[in-house]
Every structure is written in structure tokens, then in C-alpha cells.
Symmetry: C2
Subunit: 347 residues, 2 copies
């Protein structure tokens, strides 16, 4: 793993190691804002409160008694590929590997909410982690805050898993033991780890991690305003070759990678080996699942002449969304899904 | 006027000059984020759009044909008294005079909305000024934005004036000519100047000036989250003496000032001349109006012994709210209404 920050640990998968549809747990990227909280599973409880019929406390055993589901889902950090932004922007300088695909097992948040019972005014559901700390740059709250994120009620009832297993194994501490959220189709910031409290609110929740952080500026009829980052944007990433890789002239080279989107299927991945002048269609892998990535590959006939070449991959999904060639500056330091140049040397 | 920033002009009234219930227009503080826009009143139009029956454009003449109302209201800059914060915080270093009381004449926003007609989903009303510019510090939108602020629909229907006159005179360019909002009871940031567009939205508007700026961190059952600054907090300010004023020992000195609050009356102003150890009741001025300040005075028998003294004023309103002695750190650099020390020298 590539260390992007030592403490709290922020680790990236070297994306060139992409080898299968599911990412092994020990290769799955780790994004943390605060140190890993120490949690004793026996005394750990999940509090469910706010606009519910009656506030309720769940043990791990209580949750395991509810029907379990297993859901494959790709998680991508909303800041993945930030190192490609020029000029450089603030934030962890992820390259390509702050993304992974896993099978998550747990209980659906909707089930937990239905069992508990909601009040009429329920509007959003705040997922709060046990991890906490102070923010350094303004605008910032005073003192410590917990990592927290909300989802609209509709999404909470349908599209959120409270997961206790990852690829068939209990979560590790770094991945949110004993319980984390997984919001398939959304960037990783919604997948709150170390869940300790779920609050149903009757008004919009403008938490730090969906306003000052993990939000972007939307321009529409109302003007310019902050919108929380939610769905992953369509994106293809090249796993091999890597930047500055030396490739033998006149040979055949298998270019590989993965492509993903939200609430749709990847229907096409194109590859350019000449900086975007021409595009060829890549072959898509057989394994697929909604909100999981799709592997792809392309057999490149490497030209005989030596020199430098820029490779670009471009995905299109079943909702007709294709990756943009240019960066949208209103996206700030997030949702980096324009076609990313991988420069190689033919020798 | 005290210059706090030259361009755009940010001017403060020297608060020691407080002399009457209404602040003369040329002494009324000026807060601007961008340069004053040049507006030709003949071609100027107010666009009203969004969740309305039909988008509509208003000329100044159209608006003047609607019933006019005159409303007295105190406007205080949400950052007034920031210079008292230790350690120093970012932002314009206002002392006491970023506040004033005026009579505003115009048409009620509610009237304009009713004449236009609203759609069912109407939730908030965005007031957009013609002033615009780029933000320098992140988190910030790319490019230029207009100054804008929203009010919830209920407030828009009842409590907002679209003013074209200030103390019986047409607005000056610096005060928002030809049309500005006045939101009685709310801090000045809601009183959008140079209005050019009003958008009725069907979802919460998280504009720059109510999230990154002009917002504070609220701690409640949902956790810590951003809330736009709205109502003025109860506050008494000492106009005379000023900081470091030299006062003759053994004489009588008339301490004066003003006190204000939102949607309530000032019922008590207390003064301490010994740094908060003991408090005496000040006399309240006769003139009063909802959401306007109340003048107050106190005849201080200055002690015969020389030395330094700290004066403090503390207001209480009819809703039982009194000024706090300590600063709430979650208010950041706004809503500075704790009792402010005015240190003087008795000689």
C-alpha cells in the first residue's frame, strides 16, 4: 500500500496491482479523518434516535438477528486522483488507487428504521462515527466533532447497508469495525465507519463533511450554492501501464483497468494511445453488478517507433453519461473524473 | 466615518457619535463585499423567477405603484465588535459602530410574491444583488459569484421589505440604490443591496453567504452542523465613554448607549462600572419600535480615586434573553454579543 498519511492512516492501493473483480481486504484503500477509535464489541452499541417512534439502542447481536444481505459495491474516495490536478489543490494527494470493490454483508438501514418506526417529519438520517477530532482550518467548529454524514430519508430506506463484514470477513478496525455504512453508488465519504449513532432529523443536516468538506458548488437557476457530494461520477481508470512505464516498441501490450458509475451500467470503455486524437473500444470483463466496477482490457499494438505516448481511458454508462475531457472547476478538489493522462515511454 | 476597508468601501460609524433614535444616512455604516455596481435606474429591472406562477420583471416604477410601507429597523453587521475578540479572528475588524437604526420605505416582499403568485413547492426565497466578484479563500466557488442570501418562505411572506428609501431619502449607491432588502430583526447580511433577482426555490439554498460565510456551528441532538446566521442577538453597546477615555474623578458622567434584540423588546439595560462585580439599572429612552434599538443612559457618580475601570453593559429582552458574559466559540467570528469591556481612566 502507498502511504498518503501516516496518522491517521491513509493508505492507497497501488492501482497497477488491480487483479480481480473484488479487491482483497488488505489491498482496499483506507481513508480516515481521525485516529481509529478503540471499540470493545461487547459493550459497543448503536443508538438510533431523533424522529423515531422511540429511541433505541442496538447491540451487534441485535443487528445480527435481523435478515442479513450481501451487496457488492465499489467505494471510491471522492478525492481519488487529486494528484492529477494542476495547479495542485489541498487535500490528500491520491493517485488512482483510492478505490476498491468488495462484497459487503450486513443489515439494511431501511430494515432497522422500519423496525424502529419513524415519525412523520423524518427528512434525513445522520450517520455518526465514533471517530472524532478537531478541524484545523476555518471555517470550522470549535472543539472536537465526530465524523458524520447524512442521507435523505428515501435513500436511507432503500440504499444503505449497515455492514459488519467485508468480503466474507469481519471488518478490521481500519475499515470500521464493528459496523460501518455502505452507500452503494455514492463516493466513500458516505460510508461512515465505526457507526455509533444514527439520528433521524426533521430538517436538512448541514454537517461539516457535507458543506465545508465533501461538497461542491452547483450553478443553476437559484445561483451558485453548495451541494453535498453524493453519487460517484462515471470514470475509467488505467491500472496498467503506470505513469512513466517503459514499454517495448513493436510489441503487444495488454492495457487494463476498471470503470465504474452510479445506479447504471458501464456500457463502453474507450482507450486512446495518442493523447485523445483517436479512440478504440476496450473489452469489458464478464463480471458485473450494479454499483460495482467493471474490469476492462485492450490489446495495444505498440508502435515500432520510440517516443512518449499519452494514454487516456473514457467510460460511458447506460444512462448515457461519458467522462468529460476537461476538469469542471466548480468541483473543487473532488469528483475527479475527467480523462486522466497516463504518459508512457516506448523504447 | 472610520474606514475599515477602502475598496470595496467598508465604513463604520464612530459609535461615540450616537445622538438620536435614527442614524443619519451619512453616518450609517456601510458593509460591502464587492464594488458598488453601477446601475441606471431607468433600465434597472428586478427579475422574479423560480417557483412562481409566471416569471416576472419589475421596473422601479412598477414597484412604486404597489402599496408603500415604512418600517423602522436596526441593522447590525453580524461581525460588529469583532475587534474585541481575543485571539484576533479573520474578517473586517469592526468596533462598535457597524450598527444603525433607520426608517425604511418600500414595498413588502410578501406583497410582490402574492401579486406574482407562488407554486406549491415554494420553500425559500433567494435575494440576489447585482454586486459580484471572486472569493479568494477556500472553500470557494470558481469564478465570480453574486452576493445572495435566502429567507424561508414564511419570513419572505411576512418579514421582508424591498426598500427604496432610507430615512425618507432615496437610497444612495453605497446603501443599495435603487432597491435593497431589509429584514427587520435579522443581522445586516440578510439586507441584500442592489437587488436584481429574486428566485423562489423548492429546496434549501446553501449559498456561499449562508454556509461558508455568515453561518455558525450549532450543537444539538443531530450533532454539530452549520446554520445560517439570522436573528440579531440581544446586545447593549456603550457609546460613551469610549475605550481609554479619560474621565474626571469625583464628577458625574452620563454613560450612554443603545440596546437591541430581535422580535422582542429591550426591557432592561444594566451597567457595571467595576468590571462586572456590581450592576446598576440604566434608564431606557422613550422612543421604541419592534426590531429597532432602544437608547439608554446612566448617570455615573465617578469615584474620587484615580485609576482604571472597566465598564460593561448588559441588556435583557422581553423574551427573557440576556447577554452572555462569555463568548460562545461556536459562533466563530459572528454574533458578538457577549458583554464587551470598555476600559477607561479616572484621573
Amino acid at each position: 500500500m502507498i502511504i498518503r498519511e501516516k496518522e491517521p492512516a491513509n493508505l492507497e492501493m497501488p492501482f497497477g496491482q488491480l487483479a480481480g473483480f473484488f479487491t482483497p481486504n488488505d489491498q482496499f484503500y483506507i481513508r480516515a479523518h481521525f485516529p481509529v477509535p478503540e471499540i470493545d464489541p461487547a459493550s459497543w452499541r448503536l443508538r438510533l434516535e431523533g424522529e423515531v417512534r422511540e429511541a433505541r439502542v442496538w447491540s451487534l447481536e441485535d443487528l445480527r438477528k435481523l435478515p442479513a444481505t450481501t451487496v457488492p459495491a465499489t467505494l471510491e474516495c471522492a478525492g481519488n486522483s487529486r494528484v492529477f490536478l494542476v495547479p495542485k489543490v489541498k487535500g490528500t494527494q491520491w493517485e488512482l488507487g483510492a478505490v476498491g470493490n468488495a462484497e459487503w454483508t450486513g443489515v439494511s438501514l431501511g430494515e432497522v428504521l422500519r423496525v424502529t418506526g419513524l415519525k412523520e417529519g423524518a427528512l434525513e438520517v445522520v450517520l455518526e462515527g465514533a471517530d472524532s477530532g478537531a478541524i484545523s482550518d476555518p471555517p470550522k467548529p470549535a472543539g472536537k466533532i465526530h465524523y458524520a454524514r447524512s442521507v435523505p430519508l428515501g435513500k436511507a430506506l432503500e440504499g444503505v447497508l449497515l455492514a459488519y463484514e467485508m468480503n466474507g470477513e469481519p471488518l478490521t478496525p481500519a475499515h470500521g469495525f464493528p459496523l460501518r455504512a455502505v452507500v452503494p453508488g455514492w463516493y466513500g465519504m458516505a460510508a461512515v465507519k465505526w457507526l455509533q449513532r444514527i439520528v433521524v432529523t426533521d430538517r436538512p443536516y448541514n454537517g461539516y463533511y457535507q458543506t465545508v468538506d465533501y461538497a461542491f458548488w452547483q450553478r443553476d437557476a437559484a445561483g451558485v450554492h453548495l451541494v453535498p457530494i453524493t453519487e460517484m461520477q462515471v470514470k475509467a481508470a488505467i491500472a496498467r501501464p503506470g505513469v512513466n512505464e517503459v514499454i517495448a516498441a513493436g510489441t503487444s501490450y495488454k492495457v487494463t483497468g476498471a470503470a465504474w458509475t452510479a445506479e447504471a451500467e458501464i456500457v463502453k470503455v474507450e482507450l486512446s494511445t495518442d493523447g485523445g486524437s483517436s479512440w478504440q473500444t476496450a473489452s469489458l470483463g464478464k463480471e458485473k453488478a450494479r454499483n460495482s466496477w467493471r474490469l476492462w482490457e485492450y490489446d495495444w499494438s505498440v508502435p515500432p517507433a520510440p517516443g512518449r505516448r499519452v494514454l487516456l481511458a473514457r467510460a460511458t454508462d447506460s444512462r448515457g453519461r461519458a467522462q468529460p475531457m476537461e476538469r469542471d472547476p466548480d468541483r473543487g478538489s473532488y469528483e475527479i473524473n475527467h480523462c486522466l493522462p497516463i504518459e508512457v515511454e516506448i523504447r
